[in-house]
Symmetry: C2
Subunit: 379 residues, 2 copies
């Protein structure tokens, strides 16, 4: 039985289904084309040059990163058009400048007059103004200038002055992750669009060209009725999908490309528990489905071929132990799994689970491993 | 102001306070001596040869690991007496055997007749019987044979037969993490002790020597009234401590040695939010204080010198964003923090937060960084 690479993988290991990855990538590519916008994939989910090359092919077009380390690694791999989509702090400007000097067109974002003044001062001092987008808050999710706060928008643009190049506006419609029906998602995407157009119009009316209007989130990108006026869309988790995205209604279980391979190491039969060697160190402690209609606890359990068991979840996760049990409220019968048997676990949140591993073991159509793709991490 | 190594650290970064680490290590050493038991520290929290050498000094005595990778790394660093404290699966036996051939006395654990039969078969086939402890369940926490399940205990011992060396019994009293008063903790430690003695007595009565009785958990180790009859104690998180341990009542805030350095990148003033560049990627998604009397959300925020702000927590964590706010229910006034200012965040769970980083930046008494200690990960 241990005649394939898959059979001899140590556990826990991170698996990536190549065919699903291809289909997910093609779906978002087609979607961006249909919407008539540039696609700027977010590389923070995969954090792998190999995986990204596979997804994007030889065309290393625009991309998004969440850390300067990602900008450095992907820049060195040939991505020359990058957006660092986390507000800049003054201490990071020297690394941004160094990346730009190396030929990477790295754009930064900010959402305050304070940061704009620091960026402008840096640009004037260095003689090399940076390319800046103003982050817009379209849904009360996190960072950004509220889309209709015209005064702050104009103040930031003015503070940048000729110390920076104001390239446009961007947003992350993160509240879309809390939705779960097509109509609400389409409404969120429509609001995202109209609010971004309003913010850009404010800046344009004040004399700032604002050529780029960049929106982003997998849920809104897959749900937008139209993106007229928007110039680009960003998305990341669409490559792998995960249980949170299933709960939102954006994909099926058979589209989740990422899973964790685990081995059964014991049982507590009186409690109907099966114990595996994949705890939070392998799965992450992300509980992203907790408030969804179906709580998947620390992940949904599948057989070794990737077929989900009915209502079998990772109920608890310790560092190197995962406790499998029927989802509370379910009377599902547990599968017969013996010590040494293997299972696969679909993750709540692909970005978080992948981050716990150093590489992807890439599965082909026969469910064997034909490649290993390295990941990186750090800042 | 950027004249020290500390000032020029990129963020997020992982900080380790050397003086606190020393005091925490000394406290547990003294405690084990007071209890009259061998101390077998768990190396899964630090996962760093440098940190472990600092904590343990030149005396590389017994230690505990949670993965075979830890056994390989610490074994190569000179630790020759290791306990792998997660139940073994048959596929891992060849790695265990290889480690033992290299001179590491690596002991394994199991809690089923199935696993015992596989280990015995391996021992007979290879002619090199492995050293085994039976895991005992003393508190319904996770793995292990129930302490008073005499029949299963004897069956496992019999299944090992002469294919393995039955070295003893071990337990992890993990339910102690849910306690928060000295009396309950002392009672849990007393139950841990008496139940382990009962399990060992059962095996001894059946003719198995069972020389080792190993107990473990930071809460019970620090709370046990006595450990007569117990031969060794294991603990890991005591080195660093964390907010969960504060909530249990085992340490004060000024004993937490681990923190994450973060930089303010923005505000949402109408929501009383301060945004930093430390999200779950830097903090982990562990919410271990959620059910404690004081919920610390994703971590408690301190000033750059490590002094906690009153009721300021990381309310939400996205991948690379942390949202700081007053703890819900508190009317604490937020500190004046500007873009570029730095804060330190105490973690809920040191093991999980440290695992998100590749190294420790070690702080001396003047709060400057005088060393960098590498960490490793993987299985």
């Amino acid at each position: 039985m241990t005649d394939t690479v898959f059979d001899s993988l140590p556990t826990p290991s991170l698996l990536l289904d190549r065919a699903r990855l291809s289909r997910n990538a093609e779906r978002m590519r087609a979607r961006a084309a249909e919407l008539g916008v540039t696609f700027r994939p977010h590389l923070k989910t995969a954090k792998s040059v190999d995986a990204t090359r596979f997804v994007l092919g030889d065309k290393l077009g625009p991309a998004t990163v969440s850390t300067l380390k990602e900008a450095e690694v992907f820049g060195a791999a040939g991505f020359t058009d990058l957006l660092y989509a986390v507000c800049i702090s003054p201490q990071k400007l020297h690394r941004v400048a160094r990346l730009r000097q190396s030929g990477i067109d790295l754009k930064i974002i900010l959402d305050s007059v304070e940061a704009a003044a620091a960026v402008a001062a840096h640009g004037k001092q260095s003689g090399a103004p940076l390319s800046v987008l103003i982050e817009i808050d379209v849904d009360d999710h996190r960072s950004g200038v509220r889309w209709n706060d015209r005064e702050t928008l104009r103040q930031i643009a003015a503070a940048l002055g000729d110390g920076a190049i104001l390239t446009g506006v961007m947003c992350h419609a993160g509240e879309s992750y809390n939705l779960h029906d097509p109509q609400s998602l389409a409404e969120a995407a429509a609001a995202e669009r109209s609010r971004m157009l309003e913010a850009a119009a404010c800046l344009r009316a004040a004399g700032f060209a604002c050529p780029v209007i960049s929106v982003g989130s997998t849920p809104t990108a897959l749900s937008a009725p139209r993106y007229d006026g928007i110039t680009e869309v960003r998305a990341g988790v669409y490559m792998f999908f995960d249980l949170v995205q299933v709960g939102i209604g954006l994909c099926g279980m058979d589209e989740i490309a990422l899973s964790v391979l685990a081995t059964v190491i014991g049982h507590q039969k009186d409690k109907n528990w099966i114990i595996t060697d994949a705890g939070w160190m392998a799965l992450s402690a992300d509980r992203g489905t907790k408030d969804q209609a179906i709580d998947q606890y620390y992940g949904l359990v599948c057989d070794a071929a990737g077929k989900p068991y009915h209502d079998l979840v990772v109920l608890r996760a310790n560092q190197e132990h995962g406790i499998l049990a029927a989802r509370p409220g379910s009377n599902a019968k547990l599968p017969e799994l013996r010590v040494g048997d293997r299972v696969r676990i679909f993750p709540n949140h692909a970005c978080a689970t992948a981050a716990q591993h150093d590489c992807y073991h890439v599965l082909d159509e026969r469910n064997d491993v034909t490649a290993t793709w390295q990941r990186f991490r750090g800042w």
